[in-house]
């Protein structure tokens, strides 16, 4: 559903997982509070943040784009797969698109669980899977050119 605050697409997946792809800065505390649960003992999070250099070259700007319908579908599949592997309370996964200034979150994952091992392992699993399967692309802009990046996790999975 569209939210009131602009160009945001927000959908609720199975088990009330929060899954979002949006062009605005990711509101970390909103996701942390979304997974906060007084029956949970742990919240693990992962932020992917944009770096200002690549192999010594200054990165001026980063741009992300998503195949939104499929990306939502893949993100929800990943959340469901994590729930099948670990005992989790709540999950939130968000990916930003458009121009992302360096040092800011491009992706944010938050997972709560009763026991900490579940949240920690699920958080790692979710970012690994996002890198391997969610159709989102990053372009780095340098002084002297630009480059579409490639995740090794995707290439490994898609090499015959």
């Amino acid at each position: 559903m569209a939210s009131a605050d602009g160009k945001v697409v927000e959908e609720e997946g199975v088990e009330d997982d929060v899954v979002e792809i949006k062009e605005k800065p990711l509101d970390i505390m909103r996701y942390m509070d979304a997974v906060r649960d007084s029956s949970a003992g742990a919240i693990a999070t992962f932020s992917g943040t944009t770096r200002d250099t690549f192999e010594g070259q200054e990165v001026l700007e980063l741009r992300y784009e998503a195949y939104e319908t499929m990306a939502y579908r893949e993100l929800r599949k990943i959340c469901q797969a994590a729930r099948e592997r670990w005992e989790l309370k709540r999950m939130a996964v968000a990916h930003r698109t458009g121009v992302v200034p360096t040092g800011q979150e491009s992706v944010f994952i938050a997972v709560s669980s009763i026991h900490r091992q579940d949240a920690l392992k699920a958080c790692q699993f979710v970012i690994d899977e996002i890198k391997a399967s969610v159709p989102i692309w990053k372009k780095e802009i340098y002084n002297n050119g630009e480059s579409w990046k490639q995740n090794s996790e995707f290439l490994t999975r898609n090499t015959t």
Binding site: G48, A66, Y67, H95, V107, I130, P135, K138, Q150
Partner: protein, 89 residues
């Protein structure tokens, strides 16, 4: 004579740029084509895409097409996406 169908092809990221900024193409094709034949058709229309061809993965209606599975037929109204190597996260 063969029934004609229409498939919507989506081009993202590097693929879209190589196709001169074209993000969507309508393929009016014979019924019975495979996803691989659709890709060949697109590559013919946008030769610049050929440099990326070996790295492209296809997705049909929001699902990856397994390169090792038997050829998959497209249906009228399908959405076929050209997925260059992803780099999200």
């Amino acid at each position: 004579e063969k029934k004609q169908i229409t498939v919507r092809a989506l081009l993202f990221a590097h693929a879209r740029e190589l196709a001169g900024g074209v993000s969507e193409v309508s393929l009016h094709i014979d019924d019975g084509w495979t996803t691989a034949q659709c890709l060949e058709n697109i590559l013919t229309r946008f030769p610049a895409l050929k440099s990326l061809a070996s790295c492209l993965t296809l997705a049909l209606n929001d699902n990856y097409v397994d390169k090792n599975a038997p050829p998959m037929l497209v249906k009228d109204g399908d959405e076929l996406a050209l997925i260059p190597p992803i780099s999200g996260g």
